[in-house]
């Protein structure tokens, strides 16, 4: 079995991964850095992020206000030391991207322009039209090309973390083009593989979002934190799940029910005004807007379609000029994928699984409890997002904590010993597993797509916008059944060259582990907070649950849930208030 060796190894080449790689290269140019990604880096899902990146930029704003919006938006489950570091470093990181060429929108005088965003009391969202993630990713990718110490493993799929003696020592990966299975040793590993929306049937997430990094860390013994908190974005196009950015509402779009009524006014989110009001109505937080949709549906005020009930997003009053200038991608997506022109027509939308607040538990430097193993971006839970992430906080999270993890990993790698011989034995065992369980397996009745479909249906039914104990318990049983059946998968494809069916089977394994962690965390959290709403426990319960869920994998493959305290620095838990009351609540 071939082996290569580096100092710092990134799994994933999106916003967090590339930022981490550049940070490590800048800290110590002598380090050898590897970026291992199952897709070419510019295909990474950061590319799909639309609306913008939050960072205090204007004199009327302050770091404390950004922190307060983030913490109250997260229903007080965020770690406040992490939030304070985040809001402080976000503007610097966004500025660094500007210095690398990111085409941010500008004011007429040449300064950075900012726009409003949901749950944010001030305008602080930097944007590059409505393709912010695309421009950030391509800027990072193109910039990374000038760093010679960065070696890329494009289209290599990681199947296992090599951990021995309490520290990470590398990975086993398959080179898709050749099918070669290889050991890649490293003194520090940073997981930046993003989220896992594909665990659900209806998601904005790309096909590659399968929770790879979460499952790799979980299997290696690291805990997954706050996995029950799953964000439904309120405005996805039916059937495709394509995201219509929150910027569409920040620019002044209305949410209408079947009667053309701005229904959010019925859900304690303020009163309708013609122009957008910050932290009010359509600019409320995503969890509350998605929950309001379900209530409207229960009242029979949504519009039925073959792909589920919808409400309407109305952009017509914004006019063609503004839509073309500020929301060109929204118009393009509506025209190309929904055959609707938002300049003249209502856009049908429904809540869609979008983002994981939870992830691999890390400290403020991105370190996991396994020595040398780091995580950053959506795959990680630092936690700044708490029980509900605010729109435009995830892109800066990628670069802030990507940079932090890159620097910290470089420091660890600079003083780490070489790998133990025993990890090579582990690698050979992993190669044998891939061969015997998939490529040379005889028998087996199950198809990847069948089990995947049943898993997705289970997750929607038991861990959707509203949850209740019995359905969660049923979901947990079903996932256990699917785990067992997945051992009986039979691949059509036994070839080595670019075997995407093998890749899908391994991704399904990751998703089943991640799904279990979500359902178990949701089952044990008998309260309602942010994006986790239990119909059988409708109130927030700070006495018992002002705490992070930590899911660990037991040696028999089952899971256990423990809790760890939330770090409160300056903002004691309070009531989440939006709409008109928000003004007074914040100024107190």
């Amino acid at each position: 079995m071939e082996a290569s060796s580096h100092d710092v190894l990134l799994v994933g080449g999106g916003g967090a991964g590339l930022r981490a790689a550049i940070a490590a290269a800048e800290v110590n140019p002598k380090l050898s850095i590897a970026v291992v990604s199952k897709v070419y880096p510019m295909r990474s899902h950061t590319v799909s992020a639309e609306g913008g990146a939050a960072g205090v930029a204007k004199p009327d704003d302050s770091l404390d206000e950004h922190a307060y919006d983030t913490i109250s938006g997260g229903d007080w489950l965020s770690d406040q030391d992490a939030v304070e570091a985040f809001v402080k470093e976000a503007p610097q990181e966004l500025l660094q991207l500007e210095r690398w060429g990111c085409p941010w929108n500008r004011e007429p005088d040449g300064h950075i322009a900012v726009r409003a965003f949901g749950g944010m009391k001030k305008r602080r969202t930097w944007f590059a039209a409505d393709k912010t993630g695309f421009h950030m990713l391509h800027t990072l990718f193109q910039t990374s090309l000038k760093y010679d110490p960065i070696t890329r493993y494009d289209e290599w799929f990681v199947t296992k973390l090599l951990v021995d003696d309490g520290r990470v020592q590398g990975v086993v990966a398959i080179e898709l083009m050749s099918g070669k299975i290889q050991t890649i040793l490293a003194k520090a590993v940073i997981l930046c593989t993003g989220g896992c929306g594909r665990v659900f049937p209806f998601t904005t997430n790309a096909a590659i979002k399968n929770g790879d990094g979460m499952a790799l860390a979980y299997r290696a013994g690291a805990p997954l934190k706050d996995m029950e908190f799953i964000q439904y974005h309120p405005t996805g196009l039916p059937f495709t799940g394509i995201l219509i950015t929150e910027a569409a509402r920040a620019e002044g779009g209305y949410m209408l029910n079947k009667d053309g009524y701005r229904y959010l006014q019925d859900y304690n989110l303020g009163t309708p005004e013609a122009k957008p009001v910050l932290r009010s109505m359509e600019l409320g937080p995503r969890d509350r807007l998605s929950q309001a949709f379900v209530k409207e549906e229960q009242k029979g005020r949504t519009i039925p379609t073959p792909f589920g009930p919808v409400v309407h997003l109305d952009l017509r009053h914004l006019g063609e000029k503004l839509i073309n200038a500020r929301l060109p991608f929204v118009r393009e997506l509506c025209l190309k994928y929904q055959n609707i022109d938002p300049v003249t027509e209502l856009v049908p939308v429904r809540p869609v699984v979008h983002y994981m607040m939870g992830g691999i538990s890390t400290d403020i430097e991105g370190a996991t409890p396994i020595h040398g193993l780091f995580a950053a971006g959506e795959v990680a839970c630092v936690s700044i997002n708490g029980a509900n992430r605010l729109g435009s906080n995830s892109l800066p999270e990628c670069v802030v904590f990507g940079a932090r993890a890159g620097k910290a990993a470089a420091a660890v790698a600079s003083e780490q010993r070489p790998a133990n011989a025993s990890v090579l034995t582990q690698a050979i065992d992993e190669q044998r597993r891939l061969e015997s369980q998939f490529l040379r397996k005889t028998g087996g009745q199950e198809r990847v797509a069948t089990i995947r479909g049943e898993m997705q249906a289970t997750m929607e039914k038991s861990a959707g916008i509203y949850r209740e104990g019995p359905l969660l318990a049923e979901g947990a049983d079903k996932l256990r059944e699917l785990q067992e059946r997945s051992a009986d998968i039979n691949l059509d494809d036994r070839s080595r060259t670019f075997n995407t069916e093998l890749e899908s089977a391994l991704e399904l394994g990751y998703m089943l582990d991640v799904a279990e962690s979500m359902v178990q965390s949701a089952l044990h959290r008998t309260e309602s907070r942010g994006a986790h709403q239990r119909t059988d426990y409708p109130a927030r319960d700070d006495a018992k649950f002002l705490a992070h869920s930590m899911v660990y994998r037991n040696s028999d493959g089952s899971s256990r849930v423990e809790y760890s305290p939330v770090k409160i620095t300056r903002w004691p838990p309070g009531e989440r208030v939006y709409g008109q009351q928000a003004k007074t609540a914040v100024s107190q």
């Binding site: 897709v39 500007e98 007429p108 090309l145 995201l243 670019f498």
Partner: protein, 260 residues
């Protein structure tokens, strides 16, 4: 019952085949379905060996480019229904002019080498500390390069370019457009460094201005425009070199194209 359509898909596995062949699959035509949905339907329910790339399904990751009835297309943005009338067959092949890894997957290594060759990163005149804030850039200055910054690296333009077909070392439309994206950026001073590759015979002068790259671009990047713009600027720069000795002139192709 939904209407049906036949997909004729190019299949090639280097472990089994000497050359590509076509296999036919009958799939339902739903009005919401794009060609990529049909491929996923085949892979999930009929033939797990079918091999192709895809990811975002919203036309921004650039993974799913293929030849559809002879035209380079993003399959996530190409509706089955638009072909349903044309004899009920759709031919799907890997993007032209690239080596084929397997079935519909092309080899992109050479494309990535070309992208890096044009030095697609910002080279500012100086780098003051971050505390001094952003480089100022007016909306008009952003507009000068914005279009060329929209490339998603889907490589449809390479599959459309007859010069790429004849001369594989030609740097190609997307890479030249990317170089011009930085050349046209008011914050950048790297135009001269990029000249070595762009002004080389395999650079812009390889282009015979067929314009197919611009026609097939799903993001309206207009690589052909970028190439023409650079050619004009390069000629002006060359003429100017007779007037001003090289090295003293700080204005290069970029500024001649009207950037300041």
């Amino acid at each position: 019952m939904a209407e049906k359509i036949i997909l004729e898909i190019a299949r090639y596995s280097p472990e089994q085949d000497h050359e590509p062949h076509f296999e036919s699959y009958e799939v339902p035509v739903y009005k919401e379905w794009v060609v990529l949905d049909a491929l996923n339907h085949i892979k999930d329910t009929m033939d797990g060996t079918l091999t192709y790339r895809w990811s975002c399904r919203m036309g921004i990751c650039g993974s799913c480019g293929m030849m559809v009835n002879g035209e380079p297309k993003l399959t996530c943005a190409t509706f089955l229904s638009s072909y349903a009338k044309n004899g009920n067959k759709i031919r799907v092949e890997p993007l032209r002019y690239f080596p084929v890894v397997r079935d519909l997957v092309t080899e992109l290594t050479d494309f990535l080498v070309k992208l890096k060759k044009v030095k697609p990163w910002l080279m500012p005149k100086d780098e003051p500390p971050l505390s001094q804030g952003e480089f100022l850039q007016t909306p008009e200055q952003v507009d000068r390069y914005k279009q060329f910054s929209m490339c998603i690296n889907c490589t449809l333009c390479y599959a459309a370019c007859p010069v790429v077909g004849l001369d594989p070392v030609f740097v190609g439309p997307a890479a030249i457009a990317l170089a011009q994206r930085y050349n046209m950026d008011s914050r950048d001073q790297g135009a001269q460094e990029r000249t070595a590759i762009l002004a080389h015979p395999d650079g812009v002068w390889g282009c015979t201005f067929v314009g197919e790259c611009t026609r097939v671009c799903p993001k309206h990047v207009d690589p052909a425009g970028a190439i023409q713009q650079y050619k004009i600027a390069a000629v002006l720069d060359w003429l100017k070199s007779f007037v001003t000795p090289r090295g003293q002139d700080t204005k290069h192709a970029r500024s001649e194209a009207g950037n300041d």
